[in-house]
Symmetry: C2
């Protein structure tokens, strides 16, 4: 599983930071969190393929988080995509997509399902689920959690042989299903090691630190959080519905996350040393995101 | 007067070419021709100020030419612009601007006048005028001509002294107005050199070669024209409502323009040598535009 930051700017782009967009890549499939203006160009710069996008998840309806959707839809149509795509977002996303299709002379070549979501599990598949919750901004904003379900433990061939399980049943055991040999039922737990936990990521931008995100982010492997301002601009953070890096680090510590990446960085910080050091004082495993920063999250064994 | 190409890609951006946008800068004022996605970022990269934009002139309502308008309006609002702006374009531009303001949670801090135009002079000021005409594309498309009006000739102080014109009247003469000294009327032509022609630029993208553009571009100093394809892809050019570089060069030759710049380059040409050489065979003073290409057009003396 890989996370790639395509745009890390806070509201206004800079020479070095594009507007908000983040890719989560898993088994060749891309989940795109927000799509600010310029996202399709960042895909090219990151050597990622837009064809792989299955779902776009929008945090809120401010231009710097949705301005890149039209270009993605247009370019993929020109490239003759046929595979369906889903776009999740808060109330308003449907009207926005309709309006751009109507006014920008679109000829969509693929089905786009637009889903206005609320606090709940919005995607539930065999290996993972995506949950969203309301965060706190000037307008309605959603934070998203991408949670892999636990995988069965590692297969122990010695134990299988000892219990007389024939090889053709090993796959079934590995998938966590019981098998019956003669009259004896063998439970996977007799052969598999301890259950292996899934990877957990929470994406919460354009938000004040809040209880809902604290709860969603409980013990996650990676928390991506709004860190628009240094501590001295707390007033500005409150006013704009953003967080200081100190507030974000405090939340990360409280939620016992493993790693914190701060993004949506204000253009007033071409040098982010201050932001990093302020945050690290509270939560040492903090990074400040930059465009094309790539984070690999290896499969967990325990 | 300066022309800066902010985006030169044909429909789909590449690693090196952003979507269509071109700045014409004159006396500190910016006229922006088309505004594809990413235009605000290109402004930063070109060290140009969006605050200087007085007018945006849109050729047609395809996403790759208008996708950057929302970001410009949003960022300028965040920067608290108060100065009015005009946006010219074909039918549909008004609905588009309305839709984005409604659906993208805009709080515009400045007046935006949206003007749907047709074939006519759309801006007429003391020193220049802007005229548009219909070109030929898959949907309605406008070509724009930016024409400086001729300036009075160079002032000849020797002649002025000989005719007894006192210094306080020199400015009036220079402005082309008659003056009366005692009972004698002095015509500016007695003191000024020959009238100095204005600079003329025509912008015609996403178009087949056509009579209207040929006529608008007659003897202009700079023609910016669609040159999306090499000669061998003429079929594709016809099908998509674009031009081959050969067709554009032939039009430039016929219109007796001084200089031709081809833009809206297809992503299939990372190397544009073929395009340039094909065009130059017909019209030697041809360049292929690239992002941030800047062309200075000095004031003309004769």
């Amino acid at each position: 599983m890989q996370v790639v930051f395509l745009g890390t700017a806070g509201t206004i782009p800079t020479r070095f930071r594009n507007l908000s967009a983040m890719v989560l890549k898993r088994n060749g499939r891309i989940f795109l969190f927000d799509a600010g203006e310029g996202t399709q160009i960042q895909f090219i710069k990151a050597s990622l393929s837009m064809h792989k996008i299955s779902d776009i998840l929008i945090s809120h309806m401010h231009g710097d988080h949705i301005g890149g959707i039209p270009g993605i839809l247009q370019s993929l149509s020109l490239l003759k995509r046929t595979k369906a795509m889903r776009i999740f977002g808060p109330k308003g996303i449907n009207e926005f997509i309709k309006a751009i299709i109507q006014t920008m002379n679109f000829e969509l070549t693929f089905p786009v399902e637009v889903i206005e979501v609320n606090e709940r599990i919005i995607i539930d598949e065999k290996e993972f689920y995506v949950e969203c919750t309301h965060a706190e901004h000037k307008i309605e904003v959603l934070a998203y959690g991408f949670f892999e379900k636990p995988r069965p433990g590692r297969f122990n061939p010695e134990k299988a042989k000892k219990l007389g399980v024939p090889k053709y049943l090993w796959k079934k055991i590995q998938e966590g299903r019981k098998v019956k040999i003669k009259d004896k039922v063998i439970d996977p737990s007799e052969i598999l090691g301890p259950e292996r936990p899934g990877r957990k990521i929470v994406y919460a931008v354009d938000t004040r630190p809040c209880e809902n995100v604290l709860s969603l982010a409980n013990e996650v492997d990676l928390l991506i959080h709004d860190g628009m301002f240094a501590n001295e601009l707390k007033e500005k953070a409150i006013e704009g519905g953003h967080s200081t890096v100190v507030e974000a680090a405090e939340l990360a510590k409280k939620a016992k996350v493993k790693r914190l990446v701060l993004t949506h960085i204000s253009s007033r910080y071409p040098d982010t040393d201050l932001l990093r050091s302020e945050a690290q004082t509270i939560f040492p495993n903090t990074e400040i995101a930059y465009d094309l920063l790539t984070i690999n999250l290896p499969v967990k064994e325990s």
